[in-house]
């Protein structure tokens, strides 16, 4: 059975922060089409702060996720601060006591993050939010494992589903948050939250896959 070690896997979060910072301008640009245009700015600020605090810490994945979640929740605010903050702290809590993370633990982690988001937000799949990336990704992961595929293959399925979900938001009308005021005018544009969520899931799962034994 494939697993990856929790200890020292905090590097995955460092790499994730780098990707978000690289995408600062891009995320703000797509947000600017139907939102405030500050998604990239706020995300880069939060992920950058967390990366700074994790520097040279040799943290486990659970510790790094906890740091990231806490920074987002206590220092970023807006809508993305609490949503991603809850998601990462729930991720951290679920794997805290697991040394070798297998597919079952990874799935538990994903579900806890999703439930955390759903406990504070009111969006559903199809509302043009980060859930449009996250929900199909979790479903694809679980379906791959149920079909007897390996942890590595399931992680690939997860990433592909997250990105397909992200792309689906182009054809969705926003039902929640600021963009929902645009109605039909929100069509044809990617949702910034779904886009950042797909980046997060790709980095997290890619990092896990590279460490599988």
């Amino acid at each position: 059975m494939q697993t990856f070690e929790n200890a020292k896997a905090g590097d995955i979060v460092q790499a994730l922060a780098e990707r978000i910072i690289e995408n600062r301008a891009y995320l703000s640009e797509i947000d600017g089409k139907i939102g405030d245009g500050d998604h990239g700015v706020n995300m880069a600020k939060g992920f950058g702060l967390a990366a700074e605090r994790l520097k040279d810490k040799d943290a486990s994945l659970a510790e790094a996720l906890e740091t990231l979640g806490t920074v987002l929740m206590t220092e970023i605010g807006g809508s993305m601060g609490p949503l991603y903050g809850v998601m990462f702290t729930e991720f951290a809590e679920k794997i805290e006591a697991v040394d070798a993370i297998d597919a079952t633990a990874y799935s538990r982690m994903l579900h806890a993050g999703l439930e955390g988001i759903q406990s504070i937000g009111s969006a559903k799949v199809g509302d043009k939010t980060l859930l449009d990336s996250f929900v199909p990704a979790v479903e694809a992961f679980d379906a791959a494992i149920a079909a007897g595929r390996s942890f590595a293959e399931a992680l690939e399925a997860l990433t592909a589903a997250a990105e397909a979900g992200r792309d689906s938001t182009r054809d969705l009308v926003a039902k929640i948050g600021r963009a929902s005021r645009l109605g039909e005018r929100s069509l044809g544009v990617l949702d910034a939250g779904a886009t950042s969520c797909a980046i997060i899931l790709r980095e997290l799962s890619g990092g896990a896959r590279a460490r599988l034994r």
Binding site: D36, G37, V41, E75, G77, G78, S79, I120, L182, R185
Partner: protein
């Protein structure tokens, strides 16, 4: 951008520092530097009154901190909700032992962060009641009023809630009275020019020259319609029509009127609008009890104005008359 800023990422930090230096007789910085606290808070035996919201709306929200009004205010990034921690810390600073009412606006981020802050406060045994403002008429149709955003009517909600708490009312009564105040408010905004978040560097929406956005939100959220810019008289009539049609107030109702600039509209133009607004409201058979004209709730350097009409009863009139000591002239 022609702006007085230092590091665009530290606009809020710099604003708060200058604000506290200017008004040390009325406010102090909280233990959390993203919380502004009234100098006399917490008041033992009084229900605490707090709010919070994104920055860039000055004098809202921080300018309404002070005696008989808000005890503490959570400060967010520009146009972005304060963190749950800042809302929670504001609640703690305001807690005089009788519970705290949190009076805030209906935005996705604020709803989530307040919800989390209420949970954190409950764990410490602080009882919290909340009222969420939804006075912006054009942000959703009447049958979906719960979806409407909160705008300048929040100032009336704070004034009434603050005065009720100062009178010694218990938590549930303060909540119910603040709820009545916001239920009695209807607002509309008209935008003539956009605004720019310094860290973004370009306007976050467009308004073509010669046009206006009727029903614009406090962050440039699109309104009801874009149309050719008309005379002040015609614009004021449209604003009154939208607000008063939605309100449907009986003849003879007394009202409070608030005309606020959105940041870059000169005060004289607000008076020009008010000249017509006063006439229109009287023509509807309503009586104006009090009028406020000024920059009460802005949106950075947006060009435009908002109108808020609050229907009054004897209780609301008495509470509106209570003197407050905060930095915003009110």
């Amino acid at each position: 951008m022609q702006r007085f800023i230092n590091n665009p990422d530290e606009v809020v930090e710099d604003t708060v520092k200058g604000f506290v230096k200017a008004h040390a007789d009325i406010v102090r910085l909280g233990e959390n530097p993203r919380v502004i606290v009234a100098k006399n808070a917490p008041v033992a035996g009084k229900v605490g009154v707090v709010t919070g919201g994104g920055s860039g709306h000055e004098p809202a929200f921080i300018g309404y901190t002070g005696r008989n009004m808000l005890d503490a205010v959570a400060v967010g990034e520009l146009f972005s909700s304060p963190t749950a921690k800042s809302f929670h810390d504001a609640m703690r600073e305001a807690n005089g032992g009788e519970g705290v009412v949190c009076l805030y606006g209906n935005y996705a981020g604020d709803n989530m962060n307040v919800k989390m802050a209420v949970k954190l406060a409950a764990k410490e045994g602080i009882e919290i009641a909340t009222v969420v403002a939804n006075d912006d008429v054009c942000s959703a149709p009447p049958e979906e009023r719960e979806k409407r955003r909160g705008v300048a009517g929040e100032i009336f909600m704070w004034k009434i809630g603050g005065a009720k708490a100062a009178a010694g009312a218990p938590l549930e009564e303060v909540r119910a009275t603040a709820q009545k105040a916001i239920d009695n408010c209807r607002s509309i905004g008209v935008g003539l020019g956009p605004c720019t978040l310094p860290a973004v560097g370009h306007p976050n929406f467009r308004i073509e020259p010669g046009t206006m956005e009727v029903g614009i939100g406090h962050h440039g959220e699109p309104g009801l319609r874009v149309e050719a810019l008309k005379t002040a008289d015609e614009v004021a009539k449209d604003m009154c029509k939208i607000v008063l049609d939605d309100h449907g107030l009986p003849d003879g109702t007394e009202v409070a009127v608030l005309v606020s600039g959105l940041g870059a509209t000169p005060l004289n133009e607000l008076y020009i609008l008010n000249d017509t607004i006063e006439r229109e409201i009287r023509a509807r058979g309503l009586k104006i009890y009090r009028t406020y004209v000024g920059n009460y709730f802005t949106s950075l350097e947006m060009v435009g104005a908002t109108l808020t009409v609050m229907a009054l009863d004897d209780e609301l009139k008495a509470l509106l008359d209570v003197e407050v000591r905060c930095t915003a002239v009110f």
